[in-house]
Amino acid sequence: MEGLPILSLMMCVPLAGAAACLFSGANAARWIALGATLVTFALGVVLWANYEIGGPQWQFTERAAMFAGFSWALGIDGIALLLIMLSVFLMPICILASWDAIHKRVGEYMAAFLFMEVLMIGTFAAQDLFLFYVFFEAGLIPMYLIIGVWGGDNRIYASYKFFLYTLLGSVLMLIAMFWMVAEAGTSDIPTLMQYGFPASAQTWLWLAFFASFAVKVPMWPLHTWLPDAHVQAPTAGSVILAGVLLKLGGYGFIRFSLPMFPEASAQLAWLVWLLSMVAVVYTSLVALVQADMKKLIAYSSVAHMAIVTVGLFAFNVQGLEGAMIVMLSHGLVSGALFLCVGVIYDRLHTREIARYGGLAINMPYYALFFLLFTMASIGLPGTSGFVGEFLSLAGIYQASSTVALVSTTGIILGAAYMLYLYRRVAFGGQTHADAAAMPDIGPREWIMMAPIAAAVLWMGVYPESFLAPMRGDIAVLDARLAAAAPASDARLAPGTPRAEAANALHHHNAEHSAAGEGAH
């Protein structure tokens, strides 16, 4: 694949598809969108297959000085690779989820989604600070339209809230970016990741970036836009929002805040820990009392993303790896849960939990998938959720046992609200005749659910496939953070040293069990 600008190509395909959709009829637009996203996914598979694990940190780099002020610089490391894979994997599923649910202005809808895909790939692949900002911020336009045009009853309020919240967070980051580029003399992200900004400036810069990413993640108390946006957005919009857009915040922390401002990150880690602890407990309790399914899952997203931030700010390999896996897992699982809601919403046009019941009787396959994703959300061993949450919590335990203690309650509360939801929807008697008459999932819905289920199990049983590409990058980041990492209150007693580092690349299985033992 030498010389082929595959990242640019991956962005051109959906862009061309978007342009075509805008001028086509409803049915043609659906097929064009599906085709474009599948081709992009195929290119993503090629990208992953050609990604050299243990090779140079930045691969598939492209550079062209096309614009004044910033350049078209693309390139990925393992972290970006996995998040790009998540985006291109979820996209065809989103198109399928909207197949019948969207009737009005289908061409424009599909164009907005494809444009969104271009921007997501661009955000993860950008290697120029300003190019990143362009892609990061541009996502507001299609998402504003998706929520506003195709959303629920209260869509206008939700779309305004989403737009203005996110915009206010981001513009402060832009100011910080200007300062950094003026200071360092380059807008090249890999260079900036190694640049030592003065410690006094780091605090301000960190806070400016935090304003943007904390809204995006979202962290308590800046999360209030999320339930509104999720509930009002169409199903596929929620999937993309939960699956990928929230990850932009986590990606921002791991790509910018941590490596560029390590001292400030360590200094302000207490803030992240505090907000995450509140989020885990508070939003889990809020989720417990929701009567609307989408709102419940939206609040659970806030709680799960808090586990991500906790893992990121653990300043060790387990925490960082765990945070990444939680992000991938949450992208799949919450996306799938929104799809599950969408499936029954399409049939009964209500998201009210009390209107359902006993679906396991008339929709057994649906109940099966729903159960799998519920368990993955709880973090049952064997599913992706377990791997991520376990590693994150193991990581934070080494940094602060108090934070670990509080965060772990999230798992228990998570089990409570998810099982309670599942019991009310799938078990019990069939109290409503119309709910009892709903048919089981059809072939299109099988095609949507099955790949996600497979990926969730794969990540749960053999996470090495997902850990391997990013191991080198996490090690580099860990080394950068090592000097600044805050003192731990729960440092583990050193045992007999291993022959090799935990993040050595060969003999995977032995390494794996070792990581498990180390976290006791």
């Binding site: 096309m66 900002y133 541009a138 045009v149 206008i156």
Partner: protein, 492 residues
């Protein structure tokens, strides 16, 4: 004195004045029936004048060879950049006019008055003088030529009370501003003993007396009136709403460019030695314009009025570049002006396309509800312009904010930049309201009329420039703006 080089430098102005006089005669005998032909001839004259400045713009002119008539005029790259924009905006104002004046919205006359293109031509001459003035006398000549033609243009629909009111308000307040400016100029003359920019600058060295300081403040206030910066903005919404829409489009582009460029030249060439004296004033005006421009727009129902507030808001961002007081800031200002002109022309062209079956125009939010269903092309173009005005990437409006804020931060004005950029979010609120009304609301279905090719061409061109494709223009645009800004500072 050999006048040949001087005449060569002002060739575009000579051409425009001459064509203006000839077309005035044609108008006198041909009457309003000849209006369209006169407009075409005037556009051609502007186009040729534009071609005349291309070599100077491309190769750059600066230093002594850019001075004409013994230092009264200075035709440097900075002036040429502004002139190019002014001519383009004037051509656009001529292109969109005939269809408007033929519609019922133009009142009972229903025909373009033949004076309209002639007035635009003379106004362009005045603006050309403004941007290349390097003496307070030539500055005032250019400014008044522009202002007087503008007053008449605002009131050109003689039987329409709103148009008359706009003209009268503009005249009274404009005259006041000119008076303030003149007073400031006379103070400066009294304290420095000269009217040439270089002479006044030489007299303003060292500690400034109270009288001279008053002069500086009065001159800047007079100019702030012309660019409608807060706190001298109050005439703008009324005039914009009352004036015929093509005239509003013209007001929000060409005279804005001329006045901003003139303000920059005065600030740097005359008061360049006393930056500390005016920097705070400009910083205040910039912040106040951004905030009041955004807040004032929120409750508006009339789209022209809203765009008036939007132009106040944009002037604030342009003044950020001036407040930085260095080459980078001046260059950023010029880039912003170019993109602002493209966005404004596009928005007004779109506004002029909101027509009923009989051709009358719509201009409130209620009329454009659900426009994306009934007229998707216009709605998508307006969406591009509004997101661009809000500064959302990947549209070109982001680039204009990008260069201005980059200049601000690199000059060390971090807190100032942070406040300004946070205030820009207020502005986003009403820009996205546009999109909300067009895309989210149920169709009102009143916009059914067809538009002529001139509108579509302008709309398409502006949308193309503002779309992400416009980023491919940025290297050449930045190079030109840098050259122009450098020529401004060379004189210092």
């Amino acid at each position: 004195m050999d006048f040949a080089p001087s005449f060569a430098l002002v060739l575009p102005e000579l051409l425009l004045s001459f064509s203006g006089l000839v077309l005035l005669l044609v108008a006198a005998w041909g009457g309003d029936k000849a209006g369209r032909q006169i407009a075409i001839a005037a556009s051609a004259a502007l186009f040729v004048a534009g071609l005349l400045i291309v070599p100077g713009l491309h190769f750059g002119t600066e230093g002594p060879e850019s001075l004409a008539f013994g230092g009264l005029f200075k035709v440097d790259s900075f002036a040429l950049f502004a002139k190019a924009l002014i001519y383009l905006a004037a051509i656009a104002a001529l292109m969109i006019a005939p269809a408007f004046f033929a519609s019922p919205s133009a009142g009972t006359e229903r025909a373009m008055r033949a004076e309209y293109p002639v007035l635009i031509l003379f106004s362009s001459v005045g603006m050309g003088l403004m941007v290349s003035a390097s003496d307070f006398m030539s500055l005032y000549l250019g400014l008044e030529l522009t202002s007087l033609t503008s007053y008449v243009l605002a009131a050109i629909l003689r039987r329409d009370t709103r148009s008359g009111e706009a003209g009268l308000k503009y005249f009274v307040l404009g005259a006041l501003a000119s008076g303030i400016l003149l007073y400031g100029m006379s103070l400066l003359y009294g304290f420095t003993g000269g009217t040439g920019f270089a002479a006044v600058r030489a007299g303003l060295t060292g500690e400034m007396g109270t009288g001279a300081l008053f002069g500086v403040v009065f001159v800047l206030s007079g100019l702030a009136f012309k660019i409608s910066a807060v706190p001298f903005h109050m005439w703008t919404p009324d005039v914009y709403e009352g004036a015929p829409t093509p005239v509003t489009a013209f007001f929000s582009t060409a005279p804005k460019v001329a006045a901003v460029v003139l303000t920059a030249r005065v600030a740097f060439e005359v008061f360049g030695g006393q930056v500390a004296a005016w920097q705070q004033i400009v910083m205040f005006m910039a912040l106040a314009s951004i905030i009041f421009g955004a807040l004032g727009a929120i409750g508006q129902e009339n789209l022209k009025r809203l765009l008036a507030y939007s132009s106040i808001n944009n002037i604030g961002f342009i003044l950020l570049g001036l407040a930085v007081a260095n080459t980078q800031g001046a260059s950023a200002m010029l880039i912003y002006l170019f993109i602002y002109v493209a966005m404004s022309i596009g928005s007004f062209a779109a506004l002029l396309m909101l027509r009923a079956e009989d051709g009358s125009l719509y201009e409130t939010f209620a009329d454009i509800r659900g426009l994306s269903v009934t007229r998707p092309a216009i709605a998508w173009a307006l969406l591009i312009f509004m997101f661009s005005l809000a500064g959302i990437p990947p549209l070109l409006g982001f680039y204009s904010k990008f260069v201005v804020f980059q200049a601000t931060i690199e000059a060390g004005l971090v807190a100032f930049g942070a406040i300004a950029i946070a205030a820009s979010v207020i502005g986003a609120f009403y820009y996205i309201k546009f999109v909300k009304v067009m895309f989210f609301d149920e169709p009102a279905g009143v916009v059914t009329g067809k538009s002529g090719p001139a509108h579509w061409v302008l709309l398409g061109l502006a949308a193309l420039i503002v779309s992400p494709l416009g980023y491919f223009l940025t290297p050449s645009l930045a190079a030109l703006a840098d050259k122009a800004a450098a020529s401004l500072f060379l004189a210092v």
